[in-house]
């Protein structure tokens, strides 16, 4: 199995990375006093596939650029996330580039302020308060990257509608109610529904992003609507895969198409077998590497953040759609092999400035 080999290599890299991270933290700052900045990735946890891939991308870029890389994990604890970043700033004397997925929206401000004060360069992704802008912290706060949840939710909904022939009932599984991603993706679904009056939303339920909850929920929805369910819209792949297993238990897998967001491996596999109609991914490998690349290039003066247009400072990245048409190609380049990304193409995936 080709796949097998690939996985063990990944795990080893992960372990080595973690060891290197620990070792780097343990070393006194004198030893690491050098001209080259340290690359720092700050993410929520390593227990979800999404951030695990993020870290692989960050390591791939660090290797390509020949720089030292450290991963900080907040474990969903904002205080810890911020404190770890401050500790790294102190250790490197501000000679670092940070690519952060802040644990929570308000965290972005103290993170950016600490970096600007220490002279480090920072790129944030997904979460920031609406009144915090890169241009207010020139040149240190280089960019903020998000992915348009409305467009993702709408794209997968449209593909689902097309797959079931433009009419019939669907059920939708939403994410944790209070999160921006959940709200935006649902807005996208609503927009697609408004444009397709023959599609009926039978019920919208919340499975809190989890496959286990989606599994139980889907069984209950089958009782309520039975054969009226022609398709399933899930706000992320993990919930979609839980719903898929519930369908499988009733011999319905592959008969009721599912769509999701994230592009996790289970979902990509399911797109291959036709059990998922599509999934869309923000490409965490790209996010992990390119966030560092943008920060690093600003730091070494390849470009001047203050002279960049607004859509390079706060932008939506281009999401990658994985459907029946391109899944084999995607599998070959992203699952069987490590993705090849042109790290010099900093702005290639900019799709526009973030809505205010």
């Amino acid at each position: 199995m080709k796949d097998t080999k690939n996985f063990t290599v990944n795990r080893r890299t992960l372990m080595l990375g973690a060891t290197a991270g620990v070792a780097a933290l343990a070393m006194p700052s004198v030893l690491r006093a050098q001209d080259k900045p340290t690359l720092v990735t700050s993410i929520r946890s390593l227990s979800n596939p999404y951030h695990a891939v993020w870290k692989t991308g960050a390591e791939a870029y660090a290797k390509w650029a020949g720089l030292e890389h450290v991963t900080l994990v907040s474990e969903g604890n904002s205080e810890k996330g911020i404190a770890d970043i401050k500790a790294m700033l102190a250790k490197t004397g501000g000679n670092m580039v940070l690519n952060s997925d802040p644990n929570d929206t308000p965290d972005a401000r103290p993170i950016v302020e600490a970096c600007a004060k220490a002279g480090a360069y920072v790129v944030t992704q997904w979460n920031k308060p609406p009144d915090l802008h890169p241009k207010d912290f020139n040149p240190n706060y280089v960019s903020h990257i998000e992915f348009d949840g409305i467009s993702s939710g709408k794209t997968i909904a449209e593909i689902l509608f097309k797959t079931i022939g433009g009419k019939g009932g669907i059920v939708a599984l939403g994410g944790l109610i209070s999160t921006t991603a959940a709200i935006e993706r649902k807005k996208g679904l609503d927009a697609a529904l408004a444009a397709n009056p023959d599609i009926k939303l039978l019920d919208f339920q919340v499975a809190n992003w989890k496959s286990t909850e989606a599994f139980d929920l889907m069984g209950n929805l089958l009782t309520r609507f039975g054969d009226d369910i022609k398709g399933i819209w899930a706000a992320n792949d993990d919930m979609g895969s839980g719903a898929l297993e519930a369908l499988r238990a009733e011999n319905l897998a592959g008969k009721v198409p599912i769509v999701g967001v994230d592009g996790i491996k289970t979902a990509v596999d399911a797109v291959r077998t036709g059990e998922f109609a599509c999934t869309v991914t923000s490409d965490p490998f790209w996010q992990g590497g390119m966030g560092l690349a943008i920060g690093y290039n600003a730091k070494i003066g390849k470009f001047d953040p203050t002279k960049e247009p607004p859509e390079h400072r706060e932008f939506y990245g281009k999401a990658v759609l994985i459907s029946h048409d391109n899944v084999e190609e995607y599998y070959k380049t992203n699952v069987d092999a490590k993705p090849e990304i042109d790290w010099n193409d900093l702005w290639g995936r900019v799709t526009g400035a973030i809505r205010t």
Partner: protein, 327 residues
């Protein structure tokens, strides 16, 4: 204040009535939901109900013994994820080349039992309260799974193990029969073995139990290992149902299991209740979740309804009149 519920309870015949309260709650729930949506009593739905109750029931069986002793086991999610991880990594999967078939199931259950055994040792030998000791075991288990699974989800591709969830015997998925078997085993242990009686005795009054010659240390360790055994089985069932294992496969299961045990009428203080109560508790929680979807209750208020139900069920079933202090 505690006099008022006491008087109401006395009106209905006091304690005897109270011990039947969870069953009454379950029946009332079922009748109400069935009136509102007749689909509820369809055979297909009853099968689905049994299916979603399988994992919580197996978990709650283990937890019941611990709560009967007056202790708590917070390691539910950690132990479950370790057992699911061991199963998936040893059976046919998409992460490595192993193929140990049903030995993987055995290993997963042994892993769960071992986790419980260690929890027992930590509590008795290091004399750390079960709340803290098992909290530690929870995170040890979770960390172990994250590390071994490399942070990603690994698919379970062993068809015979997946048949636990997908194959049906007499119309019910095998997982349901396994859960039912776990219930019978737990009932036998509680009502027909010395261990079961000793666990109750310790929960009732540990000092008295000790003076009557119960080997408290041994019973405690055995009980924790027994709980780990049930969590291990639950881990196998969960992985078989979801067809994959990731570190967070246990997310939210601790809360569901404790809720089921308490709603069923087993007191958190120990010494009162048992596995039959827990069976009813699990059914109440599962029927409620199913019913709320059938009734089309908005997801935005489902949690509120759940919270109200928990308070109502406990209010009806626990003999709070005897509690002089409510903490």
């Amino acid at each position: 204040m505690s006099l008022i519920p006491g008087r109401i309870a006395a009106l209905f015949g006091g304690r005897r009535w109270r011990s039947l309260a969870p069953l009454a709650v379950l029946i009332v729930l079922c009748v109400l939901i069935a009136i509102a949506n007749p689909n509820f009593i369809e055979v297909r739905n009853l099968v689905r109900l049994a299916n979603s109750a399988a994992v919580p029931l197996t978990l709650a069986m283990g937890l019941t013994f611990i709560i009967l002793m007056g202790s708590i086991d917070l390691s539910v999610e950690g132990t479950l994820s370790v057992s699911a991880m061991v199963l998936v990594l040893l059976a046919v999967n998409d992460g490595n080349g192993n193929d140990y078939g049903w030995w993987a199931v055995l290993a997963a259950i042994v892993a769960g039992t071992a986790m419980g055994f260690v929890s027992g040792l930590v509590q008795t030998m290091l004399r750390i309260p079960s709340f803290m000791g098992t909290l530690g075991m929870w995170f040890i288990g979770l960390g172990l799974s994250v590390y071994m699974l490399g942070g990603s989800a690994i698919k379970l591709n062993d068809a015979s193990i997946r048949d636990l969830a997908l194959h049906r015997f007499l119309g019910l998925p095998v997982a349901v029969w396994v859960a039912f078997g776990a219930f019978l085993l737990a009932a036998i242990i509680q009502y027909h073995t010395k261990l079961g009686r000793h666990i109750l005795a310790i929960g009732g009054d540990e000092d008295v139990a000790k003076l009557s010659g119960v080997n408290v240390v041994r019973v405690r360790i055995t009980a924790f290992a027994l709980a780990g055994f049930f969590f291990g089985i639950a881990g196998v069932l969960a992985a078989a149902q979801l067809g994959q294992s990731h570190a967070v496969i246990g997310d939210g299961r601790l809360f569901a299991a404790v809720t089921a045990v308490v709603v069923g009428g087993t007191a958190l203080t120990g010494g009162e209740g048992g596995v039959v109560n827990t069976l009813i508790g699990v059914l109440i929680v599962t029927v409620l979740a199913n019913g709320m979807i059938l009734l089309g209750i908005s997801p935005y208020i489902q949690q509120t309804v759940q919270g109200l139900m928990i308070i109502a069920a406990v209010a009806l079933s626990l003999d709070r009149v005897r509690l002089r202090i409510v903490k």
